[in-house]
Amino acid sequence: MPADAGGRAAAMIRHNTILLLREPGPLASRLILPLIFLTLLHPLYQAAQGHSAGISQAVIATVVMFSLLALSIVGGSILTERVWHTWERIRATAVRPAELLAGKALPAMAVLLAQQVLIVGLGAAVFGLAVPSPALLALALFAWTLALLGMGAAIGVLARSFSELSIAYDLGGIVLSSLGGALVPLAVMPAWVRHVAPASPGYWAVSALKAALGGDGAATVRASAMLAAFALAFGLLAAARANRGAARSARM
């Protein structure tokens, strides 16, 4: 990467990090709430499924549901640019699309990964979650984070207002978590839910995390590949929509 390209990407990353930190409320809530949720609810899961399977299910449920709710951070950062009319202003500078994308994605990715690491860390350090292969778990979390970034970007460019964005991540978070079997195992869900579950990214996130925590490398890679495919599809949708809507905002 040429020096000036690196400098522009660094400037975008720095700036987006500043924007995130200037409004720390949502960030703090997305990081702290899942830890409270896990702490309060893991006994319920352990009572239902036993110690080992219970804490595993509780951690997976918390990771998937709260990371979906954290889409508000990704989507909000893009929608805010549209509301402030800064998106086109930035596009009229020398910054290249890849640098713009890096500037938006990396701070959000750091937040999402931090959230997931905190949840898994609490589960492992305090509640006895077994992590047989940290590398597999890292792969699953990374793939899920990519899918989240893609989904967040798509929501950010499609939503026309913050209320639409709020509906998308609140409702979408619960629906995708439930459909994926994060909150309640699919085995005890109605047959139609089991039938449609694979259409939900949440299903593949649960699959990848379960496989990783079970030490099943092949299944982890397979589910992670599906998550990467979701990331690509949502990312392309977001890019196409962003380009289509970009044309007429620099009023002159």
Binding site: G7, R22, A92, R248, M252
Partner: protein, 309 residues
């Protein structure tokens, strides 16, 4: 200021852009040289916005070519944008970030780093009277301060081509004066500037050359004095009150209108017309001659707007 060689810092040739059956640009030509301030004027829909989008590479014209500092915008849009500083009419600030953060971002995207960036931010803030508010969030600024911050973001990178869209819209006199001074200073140091405004006296203050856009093309281009030469001015007078319009000779009647007791005669030769009035027995108690100005030029070139207005 970065130096870029060439006859025109901005050269647009034969730009055509269609949206369905409508031609937003229809053979738009414009050249702006380094050190030149060009006042781009025209009514809504004249093609100004589309032209700017073509210069910034945000749209691709159906025909024609734009170069910025010799760089073809279609072939290398990012390279061309490196030479651009843009201040859109709409305020486009990161309202939760400080003024300094806003300026740092645009300076860094223009290629400034570390000490040079810090220095450029401080300098442009001082120039536009923003030093006191550098640490404030942009969302907490007054309207004038926001307008100056917007302009500062365009200026901070030292771009050799500036596109400033109504930078003084809604600005107080202090803001207006600071902005015009900054624009003049940039032009003096070699920047080419495209400046749009509906407040035409600003263009006289800036001694800008003019480009008048209409229906997607430039219909008049040149120095202000050249363009207004030959346009009629106005002879204004108030008669002694014992007579009215009836006293005006027939030869002047079709160029005369009455406004609140004042006669206004459109005239290319006010002394001769005044002589005609005096010889016809008119007894003016007050006479004024208004030379043709940019308003007259604009009305003459865009009659549909004049009639509408």
């Amino acid at each position: 200021m970065r130096e870029v060689a060439g006859d025109g810092m901005l050269v647009a040739e034969g730009l055509v852009k269609r949206y369905g059956t409508r031609r937003a640009l229809d053979g738009f030509d414009l050249t702006v040289r380094s050190g030149e301030i060009t006042g781009l004027i025209g009514h809504n829909g004249a093609g100004k916005t589309t032209f700017v989008e073509a210069v910034t590479g945000l749209i691709r014209p159906d025909a024609g070519r734009v170069t910025v500092g010799g760089i073809d915008v279609r072939r290398d849009p990012c390279g061309a944008r490196r030479l651009l500083g843009v201040a859109p009419q709409e305020l486009t600030l990161y309202v939760s970030a400080t003024v300094r953060d806003n300026l740092r971002l645009f300076g860094a995207l223009a290629g400034l780093r570390r000490a040079a960036l810090h220095c450029a931010v401080d300098q442009v803030a001082e120039e536009l009277q923003l030093t006191e508010v550098l640490g404030q969030r942009a969302g907490l600024l007054s309207g004038g301060q926001r307008r100056r911050t917007q302009a500062a973001a365009a200026l901070v990178g030292g771009a050799p081509l500036l596109l400033l869209d109504e930078p003084t819209a809604g600005a107080d006199p202090q803001t207006r004066a600071a902005l015009l001074e900054a624009v003049r200073a940039r032009a003096a140091s070699g920047a080419a500037i495209v400046y749009t405004t509906h407040y035409l006296p600003e263009l006289a203050d800036l001694r800008a050359t003019l480009a008048v856009a209409r229906s997607g093309r430039i219909i008049a281009r040149g120095a202000q004095e050249d363009l207004v030469r030959g346009l009629p001015g106005e002879l204004r007078l108030r008669l002694d009150g014992t007579a009215g319009d009836g006293q005006v000779p027939a030869s002047l009647a079709d160029r005369t209108r009455s406004d609140a007791g004042e006669l206004r005669i459109t005239s290319t030769d006010p002394p001769a017309d005044l002589a005609v009035l005096l010889s016809a027995g008119c007894t003016p108690v007050w006479v004024d001659v208004r030379r043709p100005g940019l308003d007259d030029l604009y009305r003459a070139l865009t009659p549909e707007v004049s009639h509408a207005g």
